[in-house]
Symmetry: none
Subunit: 531 residues, 2 copies
């Protein structure tokens, strides 16, 4: 049986840009377009030329090599001709291959938002499609509020879809604009729409307001649509759009879809999906979702317990797909009950090869167990784990020693009578037998300590130039004031774009922070050595 | 038409505890149980008594008032009787109302993991259910790998389900353990299972490995199951379990479900769902997902653009549900009315009655908004919220003033050559115009400050005798060392058994801790006054 082609339409740069707190620069749009081409989507909707200077500039050049470069716009205004609508003309004049115009498909909105007749809106859809084709571009119509519109007035919603199709639109896209439609409704309504537009010309555009953006997209495909609109990591207004990073592996790997459909993403490209997803989060400057389907850090992680030993025997029976095919990794978490084979798996993951019979391995295992009993959680601190392991295997140079520090926090009235709090730290660092003393102020004791520590590391200073502390978490274990404090620090190197986590445990929060800070700097130096 | 009852089974404390990086203390389990009872779930699975000391301690008392308190365990071991299986007996001996036992339902796992015959596994299911009923408890069987098992050997999977049901299990729960099953398969397999077990006795347990945990749960309900297992905020192993916080609003608000089913969550409780979701994230010490369906900060946010003005005209046409019904807020239109009635609800919750026309209410609302913009999260700190509110309403005496403190942390070699870290705090407290100066050591700066603060409060000393700090959480908002630190402190009074949360926000962690400590002491004094 020949497989049908299913098309992927990415709207990260358009609907994704509607996300609260997101504002792409032209340069970011260029980088994201490259990521999308690596992924293998068919359409890249780059923005709305004419709506703002950035989008206009972005569409001043053709930005894609493989994918159809798509401009977004609104259908022709009522009361003037297509050639006389400057907004429409600007979209058509952009260096795009295709244009996707949003049209009202709910009669209530035609009346309230456009203030025109239903017939005038249909004319606008028709003329916009004709003008697009006349401009030598592929035409797409996004039918806004299609599902809510269909429920209110099915005939009119169908009229809109039919008009777009009959005017020559390559795709008529059914949008669940408010995101409140459930999969069954999507399926039934899409089935009805095919009385007027063939499925091969229908697209689906969903939002995640009930957690069904992915399920709704696939329900629509089941019902007959052949184009899916979505975004990287489900970016998008409110709760986000359909997540292409989740959809693509399902389309490629799940028999219900892979046996019937072909998409533009190859097996090789599928292996890149985890890396593309994480790279996109880097651009957004946010931590990747650890629990994301397929690509999350813990998507293939199993905590030592009833499943862990079985997974080592036969991973297939405890994994719905193999992590390698999406470029992810199995993680049997190093924790309390970690056995030697877990440990070896974790070592291999951080790039340490060691023979199973190496006696250091037993010592390391005992040490990990001892540390975890004290409160260390190496599953959350890869860099501290790697340092611990490499130290036991005798590989980490002693770059510097800090034998004493002093941190002071004082709250008092200043000279002009304001209540202020000041923090100051002094550290003594020994490097190659020479003692260096640094002092720094910070907006808190840990910040002051961090500043003082990194102020003068002599010959190592250049290696830590790009280092920054990007997150800091504290947890009290066992509860109570007498308990142990666990500090987790996330660091980032602006030069290598590497991120890592280190950990410190102590009854004293400053001491625990100090351990994690020293581990973080040591890890940066080690990676610079290895590079 | 009478609505059918649909039951909600929460497994946050059991399957949720399998999440990488999660490790609940007994105290956290108690607090989460209270949240779950506020939410209105029917079953609270609290853990696995006997598997670790924490779970055993947790099940030493009955912890629920409304929900059935449920213990998790494994079915009887093959080769011994139920009465002779100490693991099983420990689960049955716990102070639970119901016991949920996981059983293999895939013949491959019976062979590989249990190493027994298919028949022996069925006997084990049967005897476990019988022993549970004989112990006077409700019996549930989790059929592990049910869907994968069904695909491999449908007859045996059905045998397992039938055996559990015929032995008297109240619920036979179909588990998609690996999380790879899609909604259509769930629907069809659940339909088949009803040939051997009535839907009124079937439950569904899904994971989010393809982003379908919620959709799969609802597909199973459509097909006939009447119990849904899930977790708060979709916590759980790998990509997480079905998210009850997403499911509950859909079940209550979407006609496809609300017209057919009733759940144990009232309309009033539904209004609490956003606050419960956020409070749970605070307990986990992580930022709430801004894009979470229904409860996310941006779930009802619209960026200024093509929708914003229309939303102001008629929100219903751009919102699939009204944000108020789930206790969330529209973010375009900052509705003071909605804000004020939310606030009155919160005040009523902490026992403050105030007239709607009271002008102090507007001032308090403005203050809360201002504070929350700075990083305060009053949802997670009832005591600080109550103090803020009572202060604005003019009711909190100024018990004491602390205008200066000094905290010092020093790491150095001591007289016998050991590396030690010492913390010391000095505070000056003014009470009735008299200054008292105290100094104390602690195992960290916050502990030292806490000790010094509570050392001599003069006439108030007896009122704070039973006070203890039982948990301390720190979070950096906005990331980076230059950002703001939020400290949450949980306090406990051993005399009254009261527990409360206070909050402090500052760029300086010691300052933020100080605010939360002072609030905690003030709250204790206020409650002693009111008592």
């Amino acid at each position: 049986m020949t497989k049908e082609r299913l098309y992927l339409f990415d709207t990260t740069l358009r609907d994704g840009a509607q996300t609260s707190g997101i504002d792409f620069s032209v340069n970011e749009k260029i980088v994201i377009t490259e990521l999308l081409e690596r992924l293998g989507v068919d359409y890249i909707e780059g923005g709305y030329p004419g709506a703002n200077p950035g989008d206009t500039e972005f569409f001043g050049e053709k930005r894609t090599k493989q994918a159809l470069f798509t401009a977004f716009g609104m259908t022709k205004r009522v009361g003037r001709s297509a050639s006389n609508d400057p907004g429409l003309q600007q979209v058509l004049a952009s260096r795009s291959d295709a244009c996707c115009f949003v049209a009202k498909a709910w009669d209530y909105h035609v009346e309230i938002a456009l203030g025109c007749t239903n017939e005038e809106n249909l004319d606008s859809i028709h003329d916009t499609v004709s003008a697009t084709i006349a401009a030598g571009k592929e035409a797409l119509i996004d039918c806004e509020h299609f599902f809510d519109g269909f429920k209110a007035n099915p005939d009119y919603a169908l009229d809109c879809a039919r008009t777009a199709y009959q005017a020559g639109a390559r795709w008529v896209v059914l949008c669940d604009t408010n995101g409140g439609t459930l999969p069954d409704e999507i399926y039934h309504i899409v089935t009805r729409v095919q009385e007027v537009v063939p499925g091969a010309h229908l697209g689906i555009h969903t939002h995640d307001d009930t957690g069904h953006a992915v399920a709704n997209s696939l329900a629509a495909v089941d019902a007959g649509v052949r184009q899916i609109q979505g975004t990287l990591n489900g970016l998008g207004e409110r709760c986000g759009n359909a997540n292409l990073i989740t959809l693509i592996p399902t389309l490629k790997l799940k028999n219900a879809f892979s046996s019937r459909f072909e998409i533009g993403v190859s097996e090789e490209q599928l292996k890149d999906v985890t890396s593309i997803s994480h790279a996109f989060d880097e651009i957004l400057n946010r931590s990747p979702d650890r629990q994301a389907p397929y690509v999350g850090e813990t998507a293939f992680a199993t905590k030592a317990g009833i499943h862990a030993s079985a997974i080592l025997k036969d991973p297939k029976t405890y994994e719905h797909v193999a992590p390698e095919v999406v470029g992810n990794q199995r993680r049997v978490l190093v924790s309390d009950q970690a056995g030697k084979s877990n440990l070896m798996g974790e070592l291999a993951r951080v790039g340490i090869e060691v023979d199973k019979s190496d006696p250091n391995l037993d010592r390391l295992l005992a040490l990990v167990k001892e540390r975890e009993a004290e409160g260390y959680a190496y599953e959350a601190a890869d860099a501290s784990f790697e340092l611990l392991a490499r130290r036991e295997l005798g590989e980490v140079p002693r770059y510097f020693d800090v034998n004493s520090f002093k941190v002071m926090v004082e709250r008092r009235f200043n000279a002009i009578g304001d209540l202020i709090t000041v923090s100051e730290a002094v550290v003594k660092v020994d490097i190659d037998g020479e003692t260096r003393m640094s002092v720094a102020e910070g907006n808190g004791p840990v910040n002051a300590l961090d500043m003082a520590l990194r102020k003068d590391l002599g010959k190592y200073q250049t290696a830590i130039e790009g280092l920054e502390l990007i997150d800091y978490k504290v947890r009290i274990l066992n509860g109570g004031t007498g308990a142990v404090t666990r500090v987790l620090i996330e660091s980032h190197d602006t030069k290598t774009q590497r991120r890592w986590f280190t950990i410190g445990v102590s009854p004293n929060i400053v001491d625990a922070s100090f351990q994690a800070l020293v581990d973080s700097i040591t890890f940066a130096l080690l990676k610079a050595d290895l590079a």
